[in-house]
Symmetry: C2
Subunit: 243 residues, 2 copies
DNA sequence: GTGACTTTGTGCATCGGTTCACAAAGGCGT
DNA sequence: ACGCCTTTGTGAACCGATGCACAAAGTCAC
């Protein structure tokens, strides 16, 4: 497995970079968007300064965790006072790469793709839907949310002309891998997958998965456990009474 | 904070239960649905037996992790052979609580709620959408995907009459907490939240969050890092050449 | 029946993430 | 100007999850 090892080399080299703010833990990155959202909320209410305690409460985490997370970005707080809302929001935005706009394409114009295309949450923060795609030729020429539905063949030019970097897959599971392959072939290296299946991609391509069904099943597990616990408690009471 | 302590007591009592298959790690639970999906795929192709290696590949994990995960449910494999597809699928289903049907209600009939109501993935495995709700009286009397849109006041009877246990929130962020409170008040203890905000709920209620925007921001972070890395590599080459 | 072979289940080392607790750092009142 | 008080940033302990490597356990061929 020499190839794998060699692929990791450049990263190692980079970590020797003097501007090395390398290695923000994944768990931290996953929470930064929530912090950013909380900060935006404070800003909208005209609050200019928050303590780690307040911000943590708004984001639903412990203050120690928040402080450790933020410490990975740098030292943007003032001891005895807290964090300046605007400044911290900017720093997090910059770290997440939201100071630039990311062109996004949505593939698959079924129910979900339709809803995603119309979803305003995209535009609000750093993302811009530049194209809607579908394999079904019947949908082409049609307009959804002000954008024409294009064939998959449009992909390469979208990447080179529009700088497309992020693809959203909203197709049925059966076509997801094929669509994914086409995205990757066109040069897209970040994919958000709504199809309930595992995508296999080459090294260097990121895939994140959002899956309704999985989330519901996890809820069901806990729900069942709660039911069993309630039943168990009843049994215990019954036994205690009968004794 | 005595109350909190007392609330945890029944659980402790249960863990002393002889049939204690307690404490399946959260990380494992989160992967079980994927294993189940992979197994269903094998079953559909008529494959009756798989090794941990094959199943792990299909689920996108390492075989050691798969085996350790499965070991938490019991010893359902046969050494030297592998796992019997149907049997393992049944065991996982049972563990996840999918041998019964879970009634689900979707609140918020905007774009997303609409798409979710029409999503067939719900019905496929253990879940049944029993009600669609919206605060907007204009939508009532309307039918979506064969179900009438009901007012929030219908909640209590849904819980008692239909055994509603899982609520899906697909409203804008502004109304999400209010809707959540109403769900909890009606007795719903498991909530899937699509609104981009933190929900505060009492002890004993589970909330899972699905957030587009967050996922995109995480992708953007990695994408930016990739761009920077590419730029860094170019710079390094340029420097090497100029020297 | 026996031995070789395959694959599971798991003990152990390791790693990343969380929590705790406190020293360092700064503002603010007097 | 000075000391008190608040809040950050972080070292260290802790905890859960992952990866490794192998003994145990079973099948299958002969």
């Amino acid at each position: 497995m020499r190839t794998l090892h060699e692929l990791k080399e450049p990263e190692k080299t980079l970590s020797a970079d003097p501007s090395a703010r390398r290695g923000i833990p994944d768990a931290t990155v996953a929470r930064l968007p929530e912090y950013l959202r909380a900060l935006t909320g404070f800003a909208e209410r005209g609050i200019t300064s928050v303590s780690s305690e307040e911000l943590a409460a708004a984001a639903g985490v412990r203050s120690a965790k928040l402080r450790k997370d933020l410490s990975h970005l740098g030292s943007y707080g003032v001891r005895g006072v807290g964090y300046e809302v605007d400044h911290l929001a900017y720093q997090i935005s910059r770290e997440l790469g939201l100071t630039q706009d990311w062109p996004v394409a949505i593939v698959g114009m079924g129910n979900l793709g339709h809803a995603l295309a119309a979803y305003s949450g995209f535009a609000t923060r750093g993302f811009r839907v530049v194209a809607l795609l579908d394999q079904d030729t019947v949908l082409h020429e049609q307009e959804i949310a002000g954008l024409p539905v294009q064939p998959m063949e449009a992909l390469p030019s979208l990447v080179t002309d529009q700088g497309l970097a992020i693809g959203v897959i909203a197709t049925p599971a059966a076509s997801a891998q094929s669509v994914c392959d086409q995205l990757v072939a066109a040069g897209v290296r970040s994919i958000l997958n709504f199809a309930p299946c595992v995508l296999v991609v080459p090294e260097g391509v990121d895939v994140r998965k959002v899956d309704l069904s999985t989330e519901l099943q996890i809820l069901a597990f806990h729900e069942q456990r709660k039911s069993l616990a309630a039943q168990g408690a009843l049994d215990a009471v019954a036994e205690a009474v009968s004794r």
